[in-house]
């Protein structure tokens, strides 16, 4: 009798666990469909590059030609320079501004939220219609220099940088930190530099990674203003030399993946920030 009463509970709990963990067939089906759809282009890119040579060689074969191409080197270097400039200008502009708004002007936060969705309302292809003639009249000196791209990309990166910094500042007790620093005789700029910045490290790195990803991949404005950045090189390689173009595309794929992986490892929840990219 005792044995009989003792056995049902484990059996029941076992059955419950099994019922819970049974995954409906259609869930598996959709996951497989998604995996096939996502992996097919990646598989094809690798496979496609094998077909260009006899005997077949790996995709890395094409990178010899690509890496030796001076056009590749100059365009890639230019894009890296522009990305770093974009991150620099963006941080210099945004960190003090968002810090100041959180500290002294919280009333402006709805305004900032509104401004940070403006780059979605005015996508790159639309903005450049108004910006190109305006900048040409504003400063011809600036207009012909590649640095102008960095200044424009700061606007495209604004929503991501703002959201990242905003979330970072929300997570710390800013007022208390600043007042504590003040009581020890620290000036506001020094507090920002030595107390707030270390606390915002994750937000700053996250925003910067997204900014780099945007600046490295931006095609619309660079092409319409006539600067030879990495995406433009990819475009030309793809339209003139099919295999090299595909190999370079694979390289950009790895780059974006690296940036997103870093972001994911950094935040775990940071993937939501990676969500809405500005579409070019």
């Amino acid at each position: 009798m005792a044995q009989v009463t003792a056995t049902p509970p484990p059996a029941a709990s076992h059955r419950i666990r099994r019922a819970r963990s049974r995954v409906p067939v259609w869930h598996v089906l959709w996951l497989v469909v998604a995996a096939i759809f996502f992996l097919a282009p990646i598989y094809s890119v690798v496979q496609f590059s094998l077909e260009g040579t006899t005997p077949p060689q790996t995709i890395f074969h094409w990178y010899h030609a690509v890496f030796d191409d001076p056009m590749f080197r100059s365009s890639f270097w230019l894009s890296i320079q522009i990305s770093l400039e974009t991150v620099g200008v963006s941080l210099l502009l945004m960190v003090p501004t968002v810090f100041w708004i959180h500290l002294r002007l919280p009333r402006l936060r709805p305004v900032m939220d509104l401004i940070s969705i403006l780059p979605f309302v005015v996508p790159p292809i639309v903005l450049i219609v108004g910006l190109a003639p305006f900048l040409r009249d504003f400063s011809t000196w600036l207009f012909v220099r590649p640095e102008v791209l960095a200044l424009i990309y700061v606007v495209f990166a604004l929503p991501f940088m703002y959201r990242s910094l905003d979330a970072g500042l929300r997570a710390i007790d800013l007022r208390t930190l600043v007042e504590a620093a003040e009581s020890l005789g620290s000036s506001v700029p020094r507090t920002l530099l030595t107390v707030i910045l270390p606390n915002l490290r994750a937000a700053i790195i996250g925003g910067s990674l997204l900014t780099v990803a945007i600046s490295m991949g931006e095609f619309t404005v660079a092409s319409l203003l006539g600067f030879f950045t990495f995406p433009i090189y990819t475009y030309q390689a793809g339209t003139s030399l099919a295999y090299e173009g595909v190999a370079v595309s694979f390289l950009s794929f790895i780059l974006v993946w690296g940036a997103m992986l870093a972001l994911y490892l950094l935040g775990r929840g940071g993937s939501s920030a990676a969500g809405v990219a500005i579409r070019e």
Partner: protein, 302 residues
């Protein structure tokens, strides 16, 4: 770092807050100066150019007021490119929305192995941002006339060419789907997670099947959100330029605008302003719909 520890006592802040009110009030009057550099930057690189663009849409080259530019949007070849832009955006948003919802729901199922979720999420973060020129070339290598998958299908007896084309609605939607679909997965996950566990438990206690739960509880609650996110995807596809250009699509609004700026302009350059203005109007409409739907959802979800 030592300062951060100090504030844990919670004392310093309270004592100091009351110590210097006159100074604080004077400081507040000048506080706005701190945002001036940012305001100037946004004015120069975003607000003034956008304003000029809108004003120029209603101006002749000499500066007089006119509705001629706006009227031009409604004459060939522009209406057909607006139609194709809208069709392509709607198609990719619809499929991206449905598939994204299904996959997000599957990923969140508690029976799925643990590694699946981070794998799909990190890949989605990547794919949602992998757009533009490389995406177009990747799909040319996949489903172009000499593509790898095209070859596999041909081998299996399905020759998709010449009926299929990456420049037509179906083909281009598939390419756009590569960033729309994962974007929807990322945006949909917090929405599904927001559905209260008690509702599902209550439904299953009353004997409802999983299907009945979704039909009568889950979907009605989630629908505004689902539609709202699809509207967001629509706007996302509508502004796409680089992907379409590298694919070789010519009858999209964004491509037509670019042709004016590139210098090989065939028509009145004032039309670029009018087209850009038309795009802004459509995007504002989509964002308004999105906001309204989002507000409806927030009544129910956590």
């Amino acid at each position: 770092m030592a300062l951060a520890e100090l504030t844990d006592s919670g004392l310093a802040g309270n004592v100091l807050a009351g110590s210097a009110p006159p100074k604080r009030r004077r400081a507040r009057r000048w506080a706005f100066l701190g945002v001036l550099p940012f305001a100037a930057y946004i004015a120069i690189f975003l607000l003034i150019p956008t304003g000029e663009l809108i004003v120029n849409a209603f101006r002749t080259p000499s500066g007089a007021f006119t509705l001629h530019n706006i009227d031009d949007i409604f004459h060939a070849p522009f209406p057909s490119s607006f139609v194709f832009s809208l069709e392509l955006s709607a198609m990719s948003a619809l499929w991206g929305g449905i598939l994204g919802f299904l996959v997000a729901n599957a990923v969140l199922h508690h029976g799925i192995p643990r590694w699946v979720r981070p794998a799909y999420l990190s890949f989605s973060g990547m794919a949602a941002n992998f757009a533009g020129v490389p995406l177009a070339f990747a799909f040319t290598a996949t489903l172009g006339s000499l593509g790898v998958v095209t070859g596999l299908l041909k081998h299996a007896g399905f020759d998709i060419y010449p009926a299929f084309s990456l420049q037509a609605l179906m083909g281009a939607s598939l390419v756009y789907l590569f960033f729309q679909f994962p974007l929807m997965i990322l945006l949909m996950i917090p929405v599904i997670e927001g559905l209260r566990k008690e509702w599902r438990e209550a439904a299953s206690n009353l004997g409802a099947s999983s299907f009945a739960y979704w039909r009568y509880v889950g979907l009605p609650v989630i629908t505004p959100s689902l539609l709202g996110l699809m509207v967001l995807l629509f706007g996302n596809a509508f502004s796409a330029y680089a992907t379409a250009d590298a694919l070789g699509i010519s009858n999209l609004v964004t491509i037509q605008i670019a042709q004016f700026i590139n210098g090989n302009n065939v028509y009145d350059p004032q039309d670029a302003y009018a087209l850009a203005f038309g795009m802004i109007v459509i995007i504002i409409i989509t964002i308004t719909i999105y906001t309204l739907l989002q507000r409806r959802t927030s009544r129910w979800l956590k």
